[in-house]
């Protein structure tokens, strides 16, 4: 589904990704772990198409297409979803209106008619139940006045509504208490299928108790320095990153 080859990316003069390689296939969950400043959030931003990041070398192929040539909304329409580390507030735009616009813009791209109100509402009801999002929050302005946990649940709700092929969860566990974490993980696990894939970016092993990865990658200084199974996460939890960094050096 996704092949990232020798990816180099910079912000201003600073190179952050320095030859990153990763391959993700349908049906897989990949966890990317690493210390602060290793380039985790840069990777998610580059994949989603944020323009502050300049790709200086490398290639990203997504479902046979050159991903880097698509603009952010085209990537979204093609099935890439980024759950933001810091979900953005949009005052005056209701959550529901926001999602309806998003869904209809994608339908327009695929030359489909706008979604019928009845179908949309049915979908909202079904998907919001998944992350226990209350009716109140559905009608409120996007993320305005949401608690940290509500914002993250809202991200997963949006993910469920947009039915992406490749989801990237950027530090979705940060700021979540254990109950919210379980709800979020439940949502992600329920949405998992043999046709979609998930990249979970996280600091902590904790989330991986609930979302079981097929692969764990360690990102350090802009490169993947180690790849393993789910047991690698446990090892990291126990020993930290230092031993790997030393090994690398």
């Amino acid at each position: 589904m996704l092949q990232v080859k020798n990816l180099h990316a910079s912000v201003g003069d600073k190179e952050i990704l320095k030859g990153l390689n990763i391959e993700v296939n349908a049906g897989e969950i990949h966890a990317i772990m690493g210390p602060n400043g290793s380039g985790k959030s840069t990777l998610s931003a580059v994949l989603a198409g944020r323009d502050e990041y300049e790709v200086t070398a490398g290639e990203v192929v997504y479902l046979g297409k050159e991903l880097l040539e698509l603009n952010p909304e085209e990537r979204s329409w093609e099935g890439i979803f980024l759950a933001f580390q810091y979900p953005v507030e949009i005052p005056g735009v209701s959550n529901i209106n926001f999602l309806k616009t998003a869904i209809n813009e994608r339908r327009k791209y695929f030359k489909q008619d706008p979604i019928a109100a009845k179908d949309f509402l049915k979908m909202v009801k079904e998907k919001s139940a998944l992350v226990e999002l209350s009716d109140k929050l559905k009608n409120r302005s996007v993320n305005v006045g949401f608690s940290g946990g509500e914002k993250k649940r809202n991200e997963i709700f949006q993910m469920a509504m947009l039915e992406p092929k490749l989801s990237i969860l950027d530090e979705t566990d940060s700021g979540l208490d254990i109950d919210a974490l379980k709800i979020v993980a439940h949502g992600v696990n329920t949405l998992k299928s043999k046709d979609n894939a998930t990249i979970v970016i996280t600091h902590y092993q904790r989330l991986l108790d609930y979302i079981i990865p097929d692969f764990v990658h360690v990102l350090y200084d802009g490169r993947i320095i180690k790849t393993g199974g789910k047991e690698l996460a446990l090892e990291l939890e126990e020993k930290g990153y230092d031993w790997l960094i030393k090994e690398e050096a």
Binding site: E52, F84, V88, T101, E105
Partner: protein, 481 residues
């Protein structure tokens, strides 16, 4: 009776009339320039009574002693009044029985704005009084309103049919001497709308008037007078558009609202006069004086969506004279390219327990300047007056400007005043968030801006709110920096 040859002749004459419309509306003009003679000509063309001519002449003499104000945060080349035609009227035609008979040229302009007249007529029951250039060419729903005693007609008709009302109220809220443009308007106003709601009557439909500038180089001096008698209610909509022009066009309207005891007036405006091109060439100069007076327990609510005009100078205000009266001002002003807007409100608290609310949302893009200018004045006798003001500015680019000039004068210690102001730049984060969800940049901006302005848009009548949202989107097209 047998069908005679004479009947046939008559039928043919009538028929020719019915099909005799031309698409370019002919206008009857007077020579350019402004002198006392101009004022006399206008008055005589309109066959006005002596008292109105005197009113105009007084205003003209006041006007001659005034200079054009320059305190607003706008710069422009002052129009040469000697180069303006002060009166133009479509040639008289057969009275129109229904909207279907309206000049197709007018309908075309309306449709470009996305307003289908037929649709409005059917769906909303809106009575529409066209002001095409200076003389009303069609009035509808008059009969239905007539049954309730509601008078809704052109200003000229009101002068003829209800002179006592016009004479009693004209100039009572905006005196001729009020300001330069009001004085000018009082001297040369050509036509406008008149509305009277009788005691205790709730006007069953939204009243609306479409203003349009049609003739190149013709100034528009509209006069609106709206009287809500005791305990009545009316919602009035005003929307305007002007076709593309290279020359600046002067528009100096005066609107006076009178809300008697326990009456309520809701006055909504969507203004999209031609704003000039991308380089700031052309566009309408919109210098408007709008003011209302509230008697006991009365309420006046101004809602405006301002997207057009090269220069806007406009402060819809409320004089809260009666005890317990309420004034409201909700405004969205959008400026793009080289547009300049200086707009806001004055809330003058005179009566006891008077309340006012001001919500102003400025949106600036391109190289435009957008200013909020407001005055909240609490008089000595205005015990327990309350005001809440919120003035927000949203910047779309680094090259535009937003300015806020809130003035407060308080002479009564029991007043309760709150003021909030924010300035923000449209967030890259917000845009990216939308784009990541599949909402492209232009659409994202429209969504964010409409969200920002929602508090005000929500105050508009339903069918106007949709139109206004479209307008914001169109006005900001290509503003992405």
């Amino acid at each position: 009776m047998a069908y005679s040859e004479d009947d046939l002749k008559q039928d043919l004459v009538d028929q020719e009339y019915a099909f005799g419309f031309t698409t370019d509306v002919d206008s009857e003009k007077i020579p350019k320039g402004l002198t006392e003679e101009t004022v006399r000509i206008i008055s005589s063309k309109k066959d006005e009574p002596e008292w109105l001519l005197e009113y105009r002449l007084n205003a003209f003499s006041v006007f001659q002693g005034m200079t054009e104000p320059d305190w607003a945060h706008v710069t422009y080349k002052k129009p040469n009044l000697q180069d303006i035609v002060f009166y133009s009227a479509p040639k008289p035609k057969k009275e129109l029985a229904s909207l279907d008979e309206v000049d197709p040229e007018i309908l075309k302009t309306m449709e470009r704005l996305g307003i289908s007249l037929d649709e409005q007529k059917v769906l909303t029951g809106v009575a529409i009084d066209f002001v095409m250039d200076s003389v009303s060419v069609a009035t509808s729903f008059k009969e239905k309103l007539g049954e309730l005693g509601v008078i809704f007609c052109s200003f000229s008709d009101a002068v003829k049919e209800h002179p006592e009302l016009v004479k009693k109220y004209l100039g009572t809220v905006v005196p001729s001497s009020d300001n330069y443009y009001a004085a000018l308007n009082s001297a040369v106003f050509s036509d406008g709308s008149f509305c009277y709601i009788p005691k205790g009557t709730k006007c069953p439909m939204e009243l609306s008037t479409y203003f349009r500038i049609n003739e190149q180089g013709t100034g528009q001096f509209e006069r609106t007078l709206l009287i809500a008698d005791k305990g009545s209610y009316v919602s009035y909509l005003e929307g305007c558009t002007a076709p593309q022009r290279d020359e600046n066009q002067l528009h100096a309207a005066v609107v006076e609202l009178i809300a008697l005891d326990d009456a309520e007036i809701k006055y909504s405006t969507v203004q999209n006069w031609y704003p000039g091109d991308k380089n700031g060439l052309g566009g309408v100069f919109n210098f408007v004086t709008k003011r209302g007076i509230c008697e006991r327990n009365a309420k006046i609510s101004w809602t405006q969506v301002e997207t057009g005009s090269a220069i806007t100078w406009k402060y819809p205000s409320c004089i809260l004279k009666g005890d317990n009266s309420i004034g409201e001002f909700y405004s969205v002003a959008v400026t793009n390219n080289h547009q300049m807007a200086d707009t806001g409100t004055k809330m003058l608290h005179i009566g006891k327990n008077t309340k006012s609310t001001i919500i102003s949302k400025g949106i600036s893009a391109g190289k435009s300047h957008n200013s909020y200018r407001g005055l909240v004045k609490i008089g000595k006798g205005a015990d327990n007056a309350r005001n809440f003001s919120q003035c927000d500015s949203l910047l779309m680019t680094d090259t535009c400007g937003a300015h806020t000039y809130p003035y407060i004068e308080c002479e009564n210690p029991s007043a309760h005043l709150e003021h909030e102001a924010t300035t923000s730049k449209i967030g890259e984060d917000q845009k990216f968030y939308c784009m990541q969800r599949g909402i492209g940049e232009e659409k994202a901006i429209s969504l964010i801006v409409n969200g920002y302005a929602k508090e005000v848009l929500n105050k508009l009548p339903m069918e106007f709110a949709v139109e206004a949202q479209k307008l914001l989107e169109i006005s900001l097209e290509g503003s992405v920096g």
